[in-house]
Amino acid sequence: MNELPQQLANGLILGAMYGLIAIGYTMVYGIIQLINFAHGEIFMIGGFGALTVYLWMPAGVSLLAIIPLMIIGGVICSVAVSTAAERFAYRPLRTAPRLAPLITAIGLSLALQQAIWKWYPDAKKDRSFPQFKGEAIDIFGAHIQRGDLFVLITAPICMLALGLFVSKTRSGRGMQATSQDPDTAKLMGINTDRIIVMAFAIGAAFAAVAAVAYGLKNGQIGFKMGFIMGLKAFTAAVLGGIGNIYGAMLGGVVLGIAESLATGYMSNVPGMDLFGGGAWKDVWAFVLLIIVLLLRPQGLLGERVADRA
């Protein structure tokens, strides 16, 4: 059996999820140069929002029918928390030195994690998440689970919608302008506060979609899941060129595939059998990141910009 298509598919699915979360990092960074370390927790809260909607639904309704509602529920929760965080935690610090909001973000991340741990019913352990029934589907020699189709379908749709939004709509162009020069954008009559809130909201909505994908794929969500996924997504955003939305998705996919191939093949390379397998996949993913940053410091799709700070 040739396992290459399977490993590529595994990586693509994982990477698409990283990419969806990475959008949130990259948009916020692109506009206010803040690395929002609480974004992993926004992702986690999206998952719990979706689960709550599912638990409200009467038993027996097909999952396919509930999914849109679950997405909406997750998006509402994560957008609400994310915009509240922007308003009450980040906005008061907008003129403060850059380290202050960064530390705030780390604190917020811990606070959100503990809040879910404390107050969401039964969340001290991982909670089970609904999954699609039915056999896997074979595409090009790869075995793809029903739940994984979700992310393969939603990720391109989300990217397309975001691309159109940013380039075609008034708000989207305002976003570009704010990211290029917030002061001038303000002088041109753009409500930059609104644009910033919008960036947080879009990032949160994408994270919620990723959280639903995560739940459908793994059958469980937990209060800690945002940490690792957030870290990986941040890596993906940097890999793709932070500030660039297509870069975020590309970075996610490259990272996912790199992890998958490192697990699958690294131990077959002569002399490397000690450094292969699941335990070393993160190491290889970061080696890749370092190489990319050495050769292209701005990331895969990033543009070289002078530091404005």
């Binding site: 089970s128 896997a136 059958g219 937990g222 800690k224 697990t263 699941g278």
Partner: protein, 410 residues
């Protein structure tokens, strides 16, 4: 001016603190040295009460509390009232060490139950040993804790005379699992995965050792990160290897998605140890059917003492479940109670005073013998439980059903 007021404030605070501490210690000495009436004896409990292992930790805390309450109600040791003093170690060795010091400093503490993690135990063993304070863990399975670093080469040496446990070692559990898989389930090709933690890696190593000795073949091995939930890349390798089962050294939070992703692509069972034997494993894993786990002791339904424990636990109305180590914790706590009973009986009906109490309780541990929740409880020359009864369970129809119970003989 400002300096002076600061000085006054500091003085007041310091005096206040000193007065309070003095009050505290006077209280303590009174408790310990009271000759007439009821004496209060404190059993320290160290477990992760917050954090992601808190479910297990709370089960330990509640079960110890239940044992103390039961002893008080049944007047097991006449004239002695037991109390538990739970401290949270957050599953961190450094915090565990601080807690050990707190137990040592409290004169009324005669024994410590806990902790959950072998890593935490390593930092607590030495201070407790220096203070001569008895420690019994319901959950530590790391073999080196009782038999020294060189146990693998047969050079067994007990490092700490104060350390006991009611849990069996990784070595016995892994070997039992290998025998069950080879002899009973007739599976000869196994893929080995562990989560790189001391528990998981130890279990996997011991499984591999026995399995290959029996003639089984390890067709491949890999390690995973216990925080990951996506194992498809590893599963793809398992499928290619042609294994007939996967042995996983690790705990259920990662074990559940691993099993599910495994069965999404190939129909072979996942086997694990007591870290996987949890109702949550089945709750989180929709394809758990056929998975195997080993655990310590006989199944709970087959023991009368366990039935009583479960009923009492329910009656006591604890908010959290007793989880995997509830029975073991109850037995560990009860061992200290029994040791106190022996010490009291030897001392003419009351607990020896001062440091002597700890010495006598420790000396009595060797004589402790009773039928506990998990079976007969007593300790060998290393401080390990003599109860090597192991049970293999398999998931059938959404719950763990026992397949084989056997006292393991190496």
């Amino acid at each position: 001016m400002r300096h002076r007021s600061l000085l006054i404030l500091t003085t007041v605070l310091t005096t206040g603190a000193l007065t309070l501490t003095a009050c505290g210690s006077r209280d303590d000495s009174k408790k310990g040295g009271d000759s007439g009436g009821t004496q209060t004896v404190v059993i320290g409990v160290d477990a992760p009460i917050t954090g992601d292992l808190s479910a297990l930790g709370l089960g330990i805390k509640n079960s110890a509390d239940l044992a103390a309450k039961t002893a008080n109600k049944e007047n097991t040791v006449p004239g002695i009232k037991f109390e538990v003093k739970p401290l949270d170690d957050q599953a961190q060795p450094s915090v565990g060490q601080q807690n050990a010091q707190k137990f040592i400093d409290d004169d009324t503490v005669v024994g410590v139950v806990g902790p959950l993690n072998s890593g935490v135990s390593q930092s607590m063993q030495k201070p407790l040993n220096d203070a001569g304070l008895t420690q019994i863990s319901p959950a530590n399975t790391g073999t080196e804790l009782t038999q020294g670093e060189n146990w693998k080469t047969g050079d067994k040496k007990r490092p700490f005379k104060t350390y006991f446990r009611t849990a069996t070692t990784d070595q016995i559990q892994g070997a039992f699992a290998a025998k069950y898989l080879y002899n009973n389930a007739k599976i000869k090709q196994v893929y080995l995965i562990d989560d790189q933690k001391p528990y998981g890696a130890g279990l996997a190593a011991s499984f591999k050792n026995t399995f290959t000795t029996l003639g089984g073949k390890i067709v491949g091995s890999d390690h995973v990160n216990p925080d990951d939930r996506d194992f498809n890349a590893v599963v793809t390798k398992v499928k290619k290897s042609g294994a007939k089962a996967v042995y996983y050294g690790g705990e259920y939070p990662a074990g559940a998605p691993l099993s599910q992703q495994l069965k999404d692509s190939v129909q072979i069972p996942l086997m694990g140890g007591d870290g996987m034997y949890s109702a949550d494993f089945i709750k989180l894993n929709k394809k758990a059917q056929g998975d195997i786990a080993t655990s310590v002791g006989k199944p709970v339904e087959e023991l009368d003492s366990a039935k009583k424990f479960i009923a009492d636990y329910k009656t006591a109305g604890y908010k959290d479940a007793y989880e995997a180590y509830g029975g073991g914790t109850y037995d560990a706590t009860w061992s200290i109670i029994e040791a106190v009973k022996i010490a009291v009986a030897d001392n003419g009906g009351k607990l020896p005073s001062g440091d002597d109490a700890r010495t006598k309780v420790l000396a009595a541990m060797a004589k402790v013998k009773f039928d506990g929740v998990t079976g007969p409880v007593s300790f060998d020359e290393y401080g390990d439980t003599t109860n090597t009864m192991m049970t293999a369970y398999q998931v059938d129809g959404g719950k763990w059903t026992s397949k084989l119970s056997e006292a393991y003989k190496p």
